[in-house]
């Protein structure tokens, strides 16, 4: 048992934390977010330069051979800074499909482009009726000579408006909710027949509604013709990464709140001298540490081979993260009073990001139900 970081991991942590502290302050973030795609190309280039974009890929493919712990380190720091860049969509998810589902040729073609910061990716999966069910895919893929033709509508595609290429799930065979028969395809952002309606999300990121009308892709765009297990695996890794991001956001928000309790005065004393607020701060701290523990569990289990064990740990983490994040987010606003309700103060932005994280890949209740159906976390 070892919860300590290795020397190399500590260096990585130092470098990302320094970057966030120096260049991702609340005011700086506002400026970065005003760029065309809602994030900064210069910051993205810096991520490439620091090796963040090639981090999880094997060294043979031009990466740095990092694992889930390295991803956790980055994501936690990104959570503190409320980072806007498409790291989750491009490196964690897009990169995940390539690492676990790509052929040697696909890896050789795509990984260097990602690592260099030239290629961003998005995952177009959610549909109007699917909510959080990964198997509910109605977008279709029909064989067309060597290639495929895709038709359908995808929604709330994170960074889908600016991604260079999009991973699109589409049904090759079976009924609308069958587990089998779901294919995964990599589609160019400017492919004929693909239209995207981009918009900001509640937390200041970007997403898009994507519609596919007779989009043709070649045979080398296929990442699996029975791809649900691959999708589940990568979504699991995304949840682990998001959990770490949420922990970073919660930790920063908690620190901001405790600081406020020490400095804000009412009735002639710091409001932190009121015991009810001291206890609330203590409860938030407990919620944060419980979340941190589960984010670590998810991280360490994300690469486990036993799919059942892995899925349960990931679901458990998403539940704990959702609950802790809701409590910490709501209480942080409450303890700030009016100032917590304003756009010009950071607390509300953490609260909104944490709320949106709960809505990604299944909220706490969704996972609670699935985990209970599967016999709970500890049963077998």
């Amino acid at each position: 048992m070892d919860f300590d970081l290795s020397e190399e991991q500590r260096l990585l942590q130092d470098s990302v934390e320094r970057l966030i502290a120096d260049e991702y302050g609340f005011e700086q973030r506002k400026a970065l977010g005003r760029a065309e795609h809602g994030y900064s190309a210069a910051m993205w280039a810096k991520f490439a330069e620091l090796g963040f974009l090639g981090l999880p890929f094997a060294e043979d493919h031009g990466g740095f051979g990092g694992g889930p712990v390295e991803t956790m380190i980055l994501m936690e720091a990104f959570g503190r800074g409320l980072v806007l860049e498409p790291y989750l969509a491009t490196v964690v998810m897009g990169g995940g499909f390539i690492r676990h589902g790509g052929s040697e040729a696909q890896k050789a073609a795509l990984i260097p482009e990602i690592a260099a910061g030239n290629l961003t990716l998005a995952f177009a999966h959610t549909e109007r009726q699917s909510r959080y069910d990964l198997n509910a895919v109605e977008t279709t893929a029909k064989r067309d000579g060597d290639g495929w033709v895709l038709n359908g509508e995808k929604g709330v595609v994170l960074h889908g408006d600016s991604a260079g290429k999009l991973f699109v799930s589409a049904r090759i065979a079976g009924g609308p909710r069958d587990r089998g028969g779901i294919g995964l395809f990599l589609v160019d952002g400017d492919a004929t027949g693909l239209t995207r309606r981009g918009y900001p999300t509640q937390d200041g990121l970007r997403a898009a509604e994507v519609s596919l009308a007779g989009v043709r892709v070649a045979a080398d765009a296929v990442f699996g013709e029975d791809a649900l297990p691959l999708i589940e695996r990568v979504v699991g890794e995304a949840i682990a990464a998001l959990s770490a991001e949420a922990v970073g956001a919660m930790a920063a928000l908690h620190a901001l709140t405790i600081d406020y309790l020490k400095t804000r005065k009412q009735f002639g004393v710091p409001i932190g001298s009121f015991q009810v607020l001291q206890h609330r701060g203590a409860e938030m701290f407990i919620a944060l540490e419980q979340a941190r523990s589960m984010a670590m569990l998810a991280t360490m289990m994300a690469a486990a081979d036993d799919a059942d064990e892995r899925c349960r740990a990931i679901a458990g983490a998403k539940i704990q993260i959702g609950r802790s994040a809701r409590f910490i987010g709501q209480q942080a606003v409450q303890l700030h009073g009016g100032i917590g309700m304003t756009m010009e103060y950071a607390a509300g932005h953490y609260f909104k990001r944490l709320t949106m994280i709960d809505l990604m890949f299944g909220d706490a209740d969704h996972h609670l139900e699935r985990l209970a159906d599967a016999g709970g976390l500890m049963g077998d």
Binding site: T126, R128, Q129, R131, Y132, D133, A136, G155, V156, R177, R197, Y199, P200, T201, Q202, A207, E209, K265, Q266, F267, G268, I271, F274, V276, L277, Q330, V333, Q334, G337, G338, G340, M341, T342, M343, E344, G348, H349, F351, K352, T355, M356, L359, M360, D363, D365, H366, L368, E369
Partner: protein, 399 residues
């Protein structure tokens, strides 16, 4: 004990309901159902419809346009109004400064201001909170100095709701700094057009503009704008806040929002079937309904006891209404967000009436996450829930 309304009360409820059905403009009803914000024009129009019927200020004394209804009738009216769902009358005039003027104002102030409040000819806002004085309101620093027959006001108010529309602001100002802090405060009415007033918008986390900072720089108003006596402003403010708390539970509005939760849950699918048929979801919804019913009963008990209580002395139990009422408003916005799921994510600012941009995701989903964020305010304003619990501990439990 009898839970049922009397026949007369039922007839009254039917009359009110029928009136709302025909008198509330359809576009405004839809806006309210979808959780969008009524505009200034909407509120003026609706207030005047009610005022023409004699129902804009039903809780006022009949000589000033009130109805003389019993507390139960008042309750029925509010409940029906919120479930219509229709906008509430602008509270700053009808529920705050209006009753203060009726109770403590001069004849001249009554004649001048009350009819214009009832018809929303004057839009009022509330200038109590300051940057350094929120929960500790009595520490407020904005000063009013008497010079001849004028007050000269200097300082800053903040969180002033809808000051951007306001014609008048009622302020708590320090008029004597030599006495105990509660005893040096006066209640002064200020015309927003007076030179020296600056209003600066504050954007809230949902992206909306409902609060403002209001700056006073040598603002001169007639001495006669003082309400009641100098130095008694704190008593009037407590009277006002007590009135505010009973209306603040907003049970009818929570009921209406739960109706919307059910409607949406019937068409949103989870695991291949409507969410409303999902056991876990229904248990969660039901738990909120039980709490809301309990609060409604508590509210009715407070209402029933009201007729026996000394006028103007709010029941400390009204703190229960404020705490639970705000928690349930928040719980209902939380449920709505849970129902809409991933489509809570797109940020879609409210478009002006008549705008035709198609919504992203299900109809009217754009207001759901913003409402969830915005409603965090209800446990902060009007005396935060922590302060309300302090009141219960002191005034009821004797701690």
């Amino acid at each position: 004990m009898d839970l049922r309304f009397t026949e007369a009360e039922i007839a009254f409820r039917d009359e009110v309901r029928a009136f709302f059905k025909t008198a509330l403009p359809e576009g405004l009803r839809r806006k309210m159902q979808e959780g969008r914000h009524p505009s200034k024009e909407d509120l003026v129009q609706w207030t005047r419809i009610l005022n023409a019927r004699g129902w804009a200020v039903p809780h006022w004394a009949p000589e000033w346009g009130g109805t003389g209804w019993s507390p139960v009738q008042q309750y029925i009216f509010q409940d029906e109004l919120q479930q219509a769902p229709a906008p509430q009358m602008l509270a700053f005039g009808t529920s705050m400064v209006g009753p203060v003027i009726i109770q403590f104002g001069s004849e001249e102030q009554k004649k001048r201001f009350l009819p214009r409040i009832a018809n929303l000819d004057d839009w009022w806002c509330q200038g109590f909170s300051e940057p350094g004085s929120g929960s500790d309101l009595a520490s407020l620093k904005t000063t009013a100095k008497r010079e001849g027959d004028e007050w000269v006001i200097n300082g800053q108010k903040t969180w002033t709701t809808l000051a951007q529309h306001a014609d008048w602001i009622f302020c708590l100002c320090r008029t004597d700094s030599t006495v105990k802090k509660q005893e040096g405060i006066s209640f002064i009415l200020v015309d927003m057009k007076t030179p020296g007033i600056t209003v600066r918008p504050i954007q809230t986390i949902d992206g909306g503009h409902e609060v403002n900072e209001v700056f006073f720089d040598d603002v001169r108003v007639p001495y006669g704008n003082l309400v009641g006596q100098e130095g008694k402003g704190w008593d009037y403010a407590k009277f006002l806040l007590g009135n505010e708390r009973t209306g603040i539970a907003r049970i009818g509005a929570s009921k209406e929002r739960l109706r919307r939760v059910r409607e949406l849950a019937a068409v949103q699918h989870d695991g291949g079937e409507p969410l409303i048929r999902n056991r876990r979801f229904m248990e969660k919804l039901t738990a909120v309904e039980v709490e809301l019913k309990a609060l409604e009963m508590t509210q009715l008990r407070v209402v029933a006891a009201e007729s026996r209580r000394q006028k103007g002395k709010p029941d400390p139990a009204s703190s229960i209404l404020k705490i639970k009422g705000s928690e349930l408003q928040q719980a209902t916005t939380e449920l709505l967000l849970e129902v809409i799921g991933p489509y809570g994510m797109p940020y879609q600012p409210e478009t002006p009436d008549g705008w035709n941009e198609p919504t992203i995701g299900p109809e009217a989903s754009g207001s759901i996450a913003p409402a969830y964020f915005n409603y965090r305010k209800v446990s902060i304003y009007g005396g935060s829930n922590e302060i309300q619990k302090n009141i219960i501990a002191k005034a009821i439990l004797g701690l």
